[in-house]
Assembly symmetry: C2
Amino acid sequence: MTAKNSESRSGKTRDTLIRSAIEVFGRAGYDAASTRAIADRAGANQALISYHFGGKKGLYLAVFEYIGVEMRQVLGPIAKQVTTAIQALPAGSAGQRELVVPLLCQILDGLLEVMARPESESWARIILREQQDPTEAFDLIWDFFVGKMLGLVTHLVAIGSGMDENSDACKVRAEMTLGQVLIFLIARGTTARHMQWSELGSSEQALIRQQLRHSLERQFSTEVSPP
Amino acid sequence: MTAKNSESRSGKTRDTLIRSAIEVFGRAGYDAASTRAIADRAGANQALISYHFGGKKGLYLAVFEYIGVEMRQVLGPIAKQVTTAIQALPAGSAGQRELVVPLLCQILDGLLEVMARPESESWARIILREQQDPTEAFDLIWDFFVGKMLGLVTHLVAIGSGMDENSDACKVRAEMTLGQVLIFLIARGTTARHMQWSELGSSEQALIRQQLRHSLERQFSTEVSPP
DNA sequence: TTGATTAATTTAATCACTTGATTAAAATGG
DNA sequence: CCATTTTAATCAAGTGATTAAATTAATCAA
């Protein structure tokens, strides 16, 4: 196989096409995004999509592969950090429970920051669309993004709430926790009107983080909760 | 204007087309949904879409009008019930604060129930899509669905948390609260894998409601929260 | 109750246009 | 020179919209 590195001529074209495709797919959705629009934005010939990716669907998959790699680079370190922080303390210890809220904040803040970046706004849109009708493309990011991050959150929620990590109740609780921050990425239309925010800038993110921390502290404080 | 009631021949055709359009738009999205597919599913001629709605876009708007009416019928009573319950008690009273969690549950349970119904699964998909790129169609449901329901939640959160109802912090908190339940409607793909749920049936909804209540009680219990 | 008249509705055919993919020729660079 | 990559032209299929003809149902006169 010829090198896919972005140094070669072929590699550069692939890169440009993928980057353009992320924008167009994100804005229009898979079906409404025309290969011509993608090629035009990339300053490339339309036929190159078939040549390099085998077709529109191939390009779409390449986009998810690309996003998966980028996402791993940003969220990977956070995931590792959180994992080691938990494992550093004995399971069930009070110290571990005290870590739950700050670690949850760390994960959710990272998620918010990554997905709210102007560059990755298209990511969020693409993933959200795929989310509603998962195709094979979803597999390319599920393992890490959802599997790993959601798994970590579930683990933390289990520690913080005393629930069994493998119980449905705990998983539900974990998704609810994620929902508290994801809502701002998903319901941008509503947020824009409700808050009269034109963008999800740093000050808006700070406010969300602040309220998120309050909420998490209330939910997973170290006091015992009623059975 | 000739009657639009579903008794007349014209009215029946309009009704059938709208119902079919909800399914097709929901499954495929606006662009990917072809007028022929909509007409076929409705057992009608494709040209009738232009005749009755002026075109594809007109049909799309009619769909939102339809959804808006239906949603009002289901959520309207809940909204009224909650409003009167709050107003029955003096503002700032302890009794009012005690109502916050049950009333929030009532709203969110209603939302979950409505949007999780098999018939309205398509609604959720259409609204979510529109949410990401709001067009004029969004206006047809914003006022009630988001404006009113979100407004009520914001009001309850204000009472429960002691925040100023008009502050950004309170609005953020309200959206976070809604996010806890909406995530299950939005991230079906993730939920399906994480929980290994094939549908959002009554037992699944019951589990969500239960955890939701726990979470809300922790967040908005009557104890004073730190400033 | 008839049968003709008329407007509203439905149908089939066709319009110009865009879609994703393919092809053969041209260009590029090692 | 030659393999790789890019280009322009073309394909069949599908798009939303429009048209004129056909059908339906209601109205009025007898």
